[in-house]
Amino acid sequence: MTAHVYVTRAWSCTIRLAVTDAAVLADAAADLDALLDRVDRLASRFRPDSSLSIANAKAGRPVPIPRMLSDLVKAALDTAAYTAGAVDPTVGLVMHRIGYDRDIAEIPRHGPAVVASAAGLGWQDVRLHHEAGLLTVPLGTALDLGATAKAYTADHAARALYRRYGTGALVELGGDIATAGLSASGWPVRVAEHEGGPGQVVVLSHGGLATSTTVLRRWRRGGKNVHHIVDPRTGAPVGGRWRTASVYATSALAANSASTAALVLGEHAVDWLGERRLAARLVGVDGEVHTTPGWPAVTHTAAA
């Protein structure tokens, strides 16, 4: 297989685009860059002028939003429903409270202790008229689409590039991977807790793959580690059995929904994944790797 790969940085993470048709790589990369910029302007929590920030600032009132933001919010609410609230987009103020109120690179490494609270969280109170493009953020809360926007955008981009150029495409946004179209021999992808870390090479023929982890995007408050994956039941960073979850599913969004939920669900994650027949690779807080049925075996151990 010949894959032609474009690599860049955006949203504080690595972005990769792989296509099977070299002739379209430059144009496809430009399209992807434009899409990322567009989504950033729509949904960034760190830009006061983003459409999402404007809707958050007007909590309690219906606000007209662009169609694509409506799609992003719908994806977040669908994910909340699918995970029974384990992945909840109304954690915006919680993120702010624990210190994640700016780009990850700009967060002070140390700070005073934070008090966890789940007060006000509740995705069911979000009012979205999807077709009309009207969003009402519940009063006293704020939306954070960080758990789903990357995966949604990866799916969106892969499909759009396949449709526009007829090329097989793999889009990776910070570890959330979407594929569209055919690659003669599949897409070899390395799964790991962090880039360059020990892991496993798998091959995707279609679908999506995502990894969520608590070992990255960390800082300290009150002498304790804090990270970006919040348990909506407590309003605190998750601290359960698993530190990293990788899930394969029919799309990047479905995979990311499940990988994030797995970290929140902790002890119940294996049963939850099994009930949904999702292939997963889980890394425990002790570093032990556990896989669910359907996850491919390692052909031989990668260098640790």
Partner: protein
């Protein structure tokens, strides 16, 4: 299609095009009154056929790869 892939069977050619100095510092715009505008974005399917997070897993699309195989992407925590 992906099953049975072993090292040496596939000659993987990766063309790397690395963008240096990428910035998302486009001029912010208030887009609250805009509708879907896909011009130049390659994203003309906004809102249609969106992935459903309620899809059950279909595990037939993932298989083992050789650890010697050069990946084209990475699913890492972020």
């Amino acid at each position: 299609m992906a099953s049975g892939i072993t090292a040496g069977v596939i000659a993987l050619t990766v063309t790397l095009v690395t963008a240096v100095g990428h910035s998302s510092a486009a001029t912010p715009t208030n887009s609250t009154s805009s509708t879907s505008d896909d011009s130049g974005s390659g994203s003309s399917d906004s809102g249609s056929g969106s992935s459903s997070s309620s899809d059950d897993g279909s595990n037939t699309g993932i298989s083992s790869g050789s650890q010697m195989q050069a990946p084209v992407g990475g699913s890492n925590g972020s």
